[in-house]
Structures are given as structure tokens and as C-alpha cells.
């Protein structure tokens, strides 16, 4: 199965399509989920892909798709307000319009995980691009062995999709491990970095596949912990981010080593990166 929907590099793909906002939900203090009407009846995406969202008159940013890949009736995008464009996007209301280009980029290779243990490791807002993987795996649960979601956030109040997580925890076929970096005594759950969850999960290190997304330093240490657990580079998938502008590998802003992340990423295996992308200067 291809892990990338092909995108023709022509003028059409560079033109945002106006799409109506269906709903806006505040997830955290600075994080919102927008549901957007798709640009056409044939809309679909693969877990891990992103769109370029255009706030008319303000600017355009890459935003991960965070919804269920089997639901083509809406585009679900979770946005953290960290600048002028994202501030404008989260300020939109139902009925407003946003420009959409995409989907772009590579996908989490869930087919490679079939018949194996699946580890989904998310840090902070990194759960947003991984949520489609959880949906996809659960939609086809019989194809996988043990499935574990490990999620770390700054504090209990920063747990993204908290009600969704509670729903997942109620399942018997999904292990959900949560931790926060800091908490006061009112929090009765685990406190510590997300890497500490790796040692608390049971998985077959010789065959398991891991999908990791979060701040780069978190991904670096998580990969080390997973490697100590037996995973090899070809079974470790990460979502790399750089300054994406065009989405089609033309402008070069997102170059990381020899890769244009907008097109050859953001999802890559550690084997593909082969150490070149963890170099500080790169």
C-alpha cells in the first residue's frame, strides 16, 4: 500500500480552495479543533498527512489532520495558536471560510504494523497527527497484535482529547498509558516523562512497530528508549517538522538533510533518516 497519495505539482495544487467551517471546539487553553467541509466529494487522506490551511488575508500554515480517515464528510484539524495565522484560524466560527490545500505528505505505515504489536507514542500536541493512526488501527483491530498508546503532556490540564482518551481507556483491546511532566497533589496519575512509559509496557521488541510524534527532543529520547526495548530503525516512525510553505517540494523551506519534509515527510522511519537528521546543524 502506498504511504503517500500522489499530488500533482501543478498550479491547481497551489490554489487554496475555500471551505466552510462546520464547527470549532476548544480542546485546551490554546488548542482548538476545527471541522471543515471537504473541498469535494472525493476527499480522503491517510493518517499522518496534513493540509495547508489559509486564513484569508493573513497567511497559510501546515496543520495535521487529526480525524478518522474513514470519515470523508469533514476535515478535522487540531490547531495550536502560536502566531498570527494560527490565532486567526482558531478565531474562525462556523460558517466562516478557510482556504484548504492538500492533503500532503507521507503517512504512518499502518500496513507495516499488521500482525505486530503497535506502539503509538505521543507528546503534547503530537497526539493530534497520531489520532488518525489510533482510529485506523481500531477500525481494523483484528489486523494487529497488542496496541499501546503512550501519551505524555505538560500537566493534567494539557492532556489533549481528554474525553477521547477516557473512551479509549474503556476498551479491552487497547492499552493506554498516560503521564504528565508536572502536577500538584490533586493529580493521582503518573508523573514523569513519556519515555518512562516505554519500560512499563509489554511488547515484542523484535517485531513491534512504533509511531512517535511530539517535540523533537522528546522523540529523540523516546527512540532511544524504544531501541533499548529492541526496536530497530526500520520499525521506528517519526513525524518530522520543519518550516513548510509550499507542500509540494518546490520552495525548499522545509529541507532537512537531503529530504523535503513537505513531500518526503513528515512521516519517516529512523532508518530513512539514518542519523543525518539528528545532527544539530541540520
Amino acid at each position: 500500500m502506498s504511504t503517500q497519495l500522489s499530488v500533482k505539482a501543478d498550479a491547481h495544487v497551489m490554489s487554496p480552495v475555500p471551505c466552510r467551517i462546520l464547527s470549532v471546539e476548544q480542546e485546551l487553553q490554546d488548542t482548538y479543533t476545527l471541522e471543515v467541509e471537504p473541498p469535494g466529494d472525493e476527499w480522503s487522506f491517510l493518517p499522518g498527512q496534513y493540509t495547508m490551511l489559509y486564513a484569508f488575508g493573513i497567511g497559510e500554515v501546515p496543520i495535521s489532520i487529526s480525524g478518522d480517515p474513514e470519515d470523508s464528510t469533514k476535515i478535522v484539524q487540531t490547531i495550536r495558536a502560536v502566531g498570527a495565522v494560527t490565532d486567526a484560524l482558531v478565531g474562525l466560527r462556523p460558517g466562516d471560510y478557510v482556504g484548504v490545500r492538500g492533503p500532503f505528505g507521507t503517512a504512518w505505515d499502518t500496513q507495516a504494523a499488521e500482525g505486530r504489536d503497535v506502539l503509538i507514542v505521543a507528546g503534547g500536541v503530537g497526539l493530534a497527527p497520531l489520532r488518525p493512526v489510533v482510529f485506523d488501527v481500531l477500525n481494523h483491530r483484528e489486523r494487529y497484535e497488542n496496541v499501546t498508546l503512550m501519551y505524555g503532556a505538560r500537566s493534567p490540564g494539557d492532556l489533549l482529547f481528554a474525553s477521547q482518551i477516557r473512551e479509549w481507556r474503556g476498551r479491552f483491546d487497547l492499552e493506554v498509558l498516560i503521564t504528565v511532566d508536572q502536577a500538584d497533589d490533586s493529580w493521582r496519575g503518573p508523573v514523569g516523562v513519556v519515555t518512562s512509559l516505554v519500560g512499563r509496557s509489554s511488547f515484542d521488541g523484535d517485531t513491534a512497530v512504533a509511531f512517535v510524534c511530539g517535540p523533537e527532543v522528546m522523540m529523540r529520547f523516546t527512540i532511544q528508549a524504544l531501541e533499548r526495548g529492541g526496536l530497530t530503525d526500520d520499525r521506528l516512525y517519526v513525524s518530522m517538522e520543519r518550516n513548510m510553505k509550499c507542500g509540494v517540494g518546490l520552495c525548499g523551506h522545509c529541507q532537512l538533510g537531503k529530504f523535503f519534509l513537505c513531500k518526503e515527510g513528515p512521516v519517516m522511519t529512523c532508518a530513512q533518516m539514518a542519523g543525518s537528521c539528528w545532527i544539530r546543524e541540520v
Partner: protein, 153 residues
């Protein structure tokens, strides 16, 4: 004592140690339980023991004037709690409170030290393992200090 030995032999922390070494370590230890809500030790108290959690959860916290008690880390099955008995001033540097009922192996710190001095090879094996735990925890705390999930504007 043999009960402790039977427990220790299955613990990943002691993997690679000889039966003779484990028997010697077992002589410094006993099995204990703590009820939910119990206080294992408090900051500033005399540090003479170490605990290997067999089951249950322990929260390490620090008290501050401004924020009250702040949990800095939780420890779970297979984790060691406390090594302040190894170095002066031999006082605990945080509180340890039991979150859910804990069963643990309690080690007598000064006895372990005496054993290590009498048997340097055993001492090295213990120190190597403790050091690995300390390094891993320190690395994790460094990541926590970075506050990697906060927004930078």
C-alpha cells in the same frame, strides 16, 4: 530470607548477579507492604533504607512555600525508591507517599554498604545498577526541566 531471595531472583534489576550475591543481598532485606496514603519517608528524615517496588505506586514530591506539595515523579513496579543512604548527609531529599497499596522489598542501607565493603565485587555490581537508575532518572528530570511541551511565542 529465602522468600526474599525467591523474589529478588525474578527482578530485572538483579539480572546477572550470582545466586551467592543475591543471597547476601537478601540477608539485608525483608518484604513490606504500605497501605494507600501511607508515608514512606519525608524530606529531611534520616535515610537508612531503600525500597524495590513489587506492586503499587509511590509519588515523590517536594513542598514549596508558593505551591504546596508538588509531585515531581511517580514510581511503579520494578522501580527503586531512595538511595540517599549512600551519600552524606544521609537524609531524604523529598517526600515519598504511597498512592496505591504498595508491596516492596525493603533494603537496609547501612547493611548493604557494609556488605559492599566486605565484598567489593558485590559492591561494584550493586553500584553499577544503582548508577544506571540514577542516570536514567537524571536524564528524565532534565527533559522535564526543558518543559518541552510549552508554547514558545
Amino acid at each position: 530470607m529465602s522468600e526474599v531471595f525467591d523474589v529478588l531472583i525474578d527482578q530485572p534489576f538483579f539480572t546477572g548477579m550470582t545466586d551467592e550475591q543475591l543471597r547476601a543481598v537478601s540477608e539485608t532485606a525483608r518484604l513490606v507492604t504500605f497501605e494507600e496514603g501511607a508515608v514512606m519517608f519525608v524530606e529531611g528524615g534520616p535515610a537508612r533504607r531503600s525500597y524495590l517496588i513489587l506492586d503499587g505506586d509511590v509519588a515523590l514530591s517536594l513542598r514549596t512555600q508558593e505551591h504546596g506539595a508538588k509531585t515531581i515523579q511517580t514510581l511503579h513496579r520494578g522501580d527503586f525508591v531512595g538511595w540517599s543512604w549512600m551519600y552524606p548527609p544521609y537524609r531524604w531529599s523529598f517526600d515519598a507517599n504511597v498512592r496505591s497499596e504498595v508491596s516492596a522489598v525493603q533494603f537496609d542501607g547501612p547493611l548493604l554498604k557494609k556488605l559492599s565493603l566486605a565484598d567489593p565485587e558485590l559492591g561494584y555490581e550493586l553500584l553499577r545498577r544503582f548508577t544506571e537508575v540514577i542516570v536514567t532518572r537524571m536524564q528524565a528530570l532534565r527533559i522535564q526541566l526543558l518543559d518541552v511541551y510549552s508554547t514558545f511565542r
